[in-house]
């Protein structure tokens, strides 16, 4: 069995005195799409933050064979993890083009960055039209697309997506998830997605974890979880 791309083992994380993760373990294989589900406050967002280093954490976290348990967000980004945070984190004062250039900040080769910009924009034709516009003037859906596009400019090996559907219209959400699936299937990009909308997340992922108060309660293949009546009723609420 090949070593997983990302592996968390017995990870704890806290915000001041409040512990948000109590010994969480999960893994993502190379090229795999994995979903993290659970109720509000279960620790989904904190899981992603623990990986990228936004929150103080303890435990074992390895990425591509190297420990990132003590890495800062800057360092995890440089290691090849692109995190699209909750609330998107678009830099509203900068233009769309500048947001994309910033996404490639850690990369040195200019020519391939320019190529990537064309390739990424081919996924998001609407952004291509608005390159000179300030990001703050975009609609919510467009901002989410920009956040995704900016993350891709890093040429990541792993994409962390936090609630991409939050506050967006169903049609836009469908479009975003279609693109995520395409990136995963066509480009072999590994994805770890956190979602409230379980149906969507299970649809795009191969495997999923259901969290409950900072621990993994259930895990399994997405197709099976979707059909498991008990899991569906007690954890996913639909």
């Amino acid at each position: 069995m090949p070593e997983p791309l990302l592996e968390l083992e017995d990870v704890t994380a806290r915000y001041g005195p409040v512990t948000a993760l109590h010994g969480l373990s999960l893994h993502v294989d190379e090229g795999e799409a994995v979903a993290v589900l659970g109720a509000n406050g279960a620790g989904k967002t904190t899981t992603l933050r623990a990986v990228s280093g936004i929150v103080r954490r303890a435990g074992r976290i390895t990425f591509a064979g190297r420990s990132i348990a003590r890495s800062s967000p800057e360092a995890t980004a440089r290691a090849g993890i692109a995190h699209v945070p909750e609330g998107r984190g678009t830099l509203t004062d900068l233009t769309v083009g500048e947001n994309l250039r910033l996404g490639a900040y850690t990369r040195r080769e200019r020519a391939s960055v320019r190529e990537d910009e064309q390739r990424v924009l081919s996924y998001f034709p609407r952004l291509a039209e608005r390159r000179q516009q300030r990001a703050g003037t975009l609609s919510g859906g467009e901002q989410q697309m920009l956040a995704l596009a900016r993350a891709l400019m890093l040429r990541p090996r792993l994409l962390l997506l936090d609630e991409p559907s939050l506050g967006l219209a169903p049609l836009v959400v469908a479009e975003i998830f279609r693109i995520v699936r395409e990136l995963n299937e066509r480009e072999g990009l590994a994805v770890l997605v956190v979602e409230q909308n379980a149906a969507l997340a299970l649809d795009v992922s191969a495997r999923a974890y259901v969290l409950e108060v900072g621990r993994v309660a259930v895990e399994g293949e997405s197709t099976k979880l979707r059909e498991d009546e008990a899991v569906r009723r007690s954890y996913l609420g639909y």
């Binding site: 800057e74 980004a77 984190g89 900068l94 910033l102 850690t106």
Partner: protein, 300 residues
């Protein structure tokens, strides 16, 4: 009140005002650079600029030409600004804003004390950067020195603008200033961007100091204290978050103060600054975020 209005005098006074405003603008931009990324007014900015000016003076004493000393001092000041940030600001990065403000006040005394310690307190002078001859433009005589000062300060501000607008590092430091968390996620080392901001601010301050000193017959370690006041006022007038606002605000302030001093006898030299500040307060009461600032978002 004014019987025969003298347009020539008005034009001359406006240019003189623009020259002082331009010098203030470079220091105001320095203040804004640091304010934008940390929400703190660096009270030591003027003293750091004074220190730079003394370095330039030493270089000139050692035989360098004014302009060679100018460029070398800008480089030294940049390094000094970065070093100061690493040494005393970085440890209080996460402390309350007022704590950082007090650290800059402490820095004020440290830099001022150091300058008086290193260089004896007698007055000294820098050579003129420009020819002292007047030049006639459209029948009105202006001083070359004033025009040159305006040109150099605008050039310094312009270079800084190009850096922020067109370089990757400039882009990253803008991003780090407005949204540090998201910038970290794309791999920007935000903490170093703050240091870069301090370096650039110190360099801009150096320009300001080296333009202020030659215009005076002599100067001492209190050189930049009034300049800091004017720069602060100019920056607030323009809206503290906006470098462009700081430049326009300082230029307006320069012209305003010079015209008040010239045409309103009652004010005289002593009350120029208070009157200018009162005018700014009036502006702020109408536009609380300054001329160019956007209203601050209020967090609940």
């Amino acid at each position: 009140m004014i019987l025969a209005f003298d347009w020539t005098q008005l034009a001359q006074q406006v240019v003189i005002g623009l020259a002082s405003g331009g010098v203030w603008a470079t220091l105001a931009v320095a203040l804004v650079l640091i304010y934008r990324s940390t929400g703190v007014i660096n009270f030591a900015q003027g003293e750091m600029a004074m220190f730079s000016t003394f370095i330039a003076w030493s270089l000139v004493e050692h035989g360098l030409s004014y302009w060679a000393a100018f460029l070398l001092t800008v480089a030294i000041s940049f390094a000094g600004g970065v070093a100061v940030e690493r040494a005393v600001i970085r440890p209080v990065e996460r402390a309350p804003t007022l704590t950082v403000v007090i650290v800059t006040l402490g820095l004020f005394f440290v830099v001022n004390g150091a300058a008086r310690w290193i260089w004896s307190p007698e007055t000294r002078s820098l050579p003129n950067a420009f020819s002292t001859r007047p030049i006639a433009v459209g029948g009105v005589a202006f001083s070359i020195s004033d025009l040159g000062t305006i040109a150099v300060s605008l050039a310094a501000v312009g270079l800084l603008w190009l850096f922020f607008r067109y370089t990757k590092l400039g882009l990253a430091s803008r991003a780090a200033a407005v949204n540090p968390d998201a910038s970290r996620l794309v791999g920007v080392r935000v903490s170093w961007m703050l240091a870069l901001g301090w370096g650039l601010a110190a360099a801009m301050g150096a320009v300001s100091g080296m333009l202020t000193a030659p215009a005076l017959a002599s100067f001492d370690q209190n050189l930049m204290q009034p300049v800091l006041l004017y720069a602060f006022a100019g920056a607030v007038l323009g809206g503290l978050g906006s470098p462009l606002g700081a430049v326009v605000g300082s230029l307006l302030l320069g012209v305003l103060i010079n015209l008040i001093g010239t045409y309103v006898n009652w004010v005289g030299t002593d009350l120029r600054l208070p009157v200018a500040l009162a005018v700014i307060l009036g502006v702020l009461l109408v536009r609380p975020a300054g001329l160019f600032g956007r209203p601050l978002e209020t967090r609940v």
